[in-house]
Symmetry: C2
Subunit: 189 residues, 2 copies
DNA sequence: GTCTATAGTAGGATAGAC
DNA sequence: GTCTATCCTACTATAGAC
């Protein structure tokens, strides 16, 4: 373990609490208690509660944006791109499942530019996803199903991984990726 | 439109606000403003903010419990049961998409017996779902995939319908059910 | 870097007039 | 059934000592 900065420790502790109760229900006193200090002491390391939330969310949203851009610009077919998207979500979930709770459930509590920046990244991400699926249907690599439903159901599952993954003890990442591809793309019947 | 009781109007208005910002971030003053009255006046119709939340959530959870029990006790095969579960989620979503936001995101703010009651219903629901899938795999009606992943991915999608459905303008319920069955059960490749 | 003390605000809820 | 006024508590954040 590399030594973490005090700020990063606070952000990690906050991620866990935000996951359990949501941003609005977590107080600076709760967070301080989790860190073993008093609430006032937190402000030596962070500027505000809001700064903690935006750090958690924007960093993760930028990871997804970067990952998606790499996939979009690759020379692979639609199925391979969808598999890469599944990998991306699994990788991020393994690395920071707690933070993903805020990304998914507390983004609406971002303020000003951060909210706008987040909403643009999320919109672009979904649009890229949709184009990959549409392209796959056009090229007959994907069944001619309702595109919106494919995008919605796949994204719903991937976005919710953070809730489910921690309950699966010791599942291997490679196996998880393989099984997730099977279920999401090839169906169960 | 049948005339709604004032209490039901409050619960409906609260469902919308809870969906937008979450239970903790919505104040009684916010709710009162949405109703066009003062906060104190709300208390002539409801006992507490907590009562609003538990009314929304427990009612919906009981709908799912009743529906699931009916499906479990029917004489159908696994695939037919899964299709009925998809129908159940779509029906409830069409009827009360706003309330489902609280069920999904604010259940942890329930107190005491209501929290326990909810958690038991949710646990039983998932257990019933899991048994249907397991049974289907045993009888070779369902592919021998990872059962936990099937349960998780299907439930994730169905539970998130409330976020997606309102954005789909004028989609017919019957078509939605048909397409959802295709994507969730038969795969897209 | 952490503390105590506290400012300033906003929350849920009640009392009592109309 | 709604209002005004208000109680009490809890919140975020700051000031200044150590």
């Amino acid at each position: 373990m590399k030594p973490e900065s005090r700020k990063q420790e606070i952000i990690n502790a906050a991620s866990i609490l935000f996951k359990e109760k949501g941003y609005s229900a977590v107080t600076m006193r709760d967070l301080a208690k989790a860190m073993g200090i008093k609430a006032a002491s937190l402000y030596n390391h962070i500027q505000s509660k809001q700064e903690i939330l935006s750090t958690i969310i924007i960093e993760l949203a930028e990871e997804f944006t970067t990952g998606m851009n790499r996939i979009v610009n690759s020379n692979e077919n639609s199925i391979q791109k969808l598999e890469k998207i599944i990998d991306l979500h699994i990788d991020v979930t393994l690395r920071n499942a707690d933070g993903l709770a805020s990304l998914n459930s507390d983004w609406m509590h971002l303020e000003e530019e951060n909210l706008q920046h987040f909403e643009k990244m999320r919109h672009d991400y979904e649009e890229n996803f949709r184009n990959i699926v549409r392209n796959g249907v056009d090229k007959e690599e994907i069944k001619p199903c309702n595109i919106e439903i494919i995008v919605f159901s796949t994204l719903s599952t991937l976005r919710t991984l953070y809730l489910w993954y921690p309950k699966q003890k010791d599942i291997d990442a490679a196996i998880l990726k393989h099984d997730m591809v099977s279920v999401l793309l090839k169906g169960v019947v």
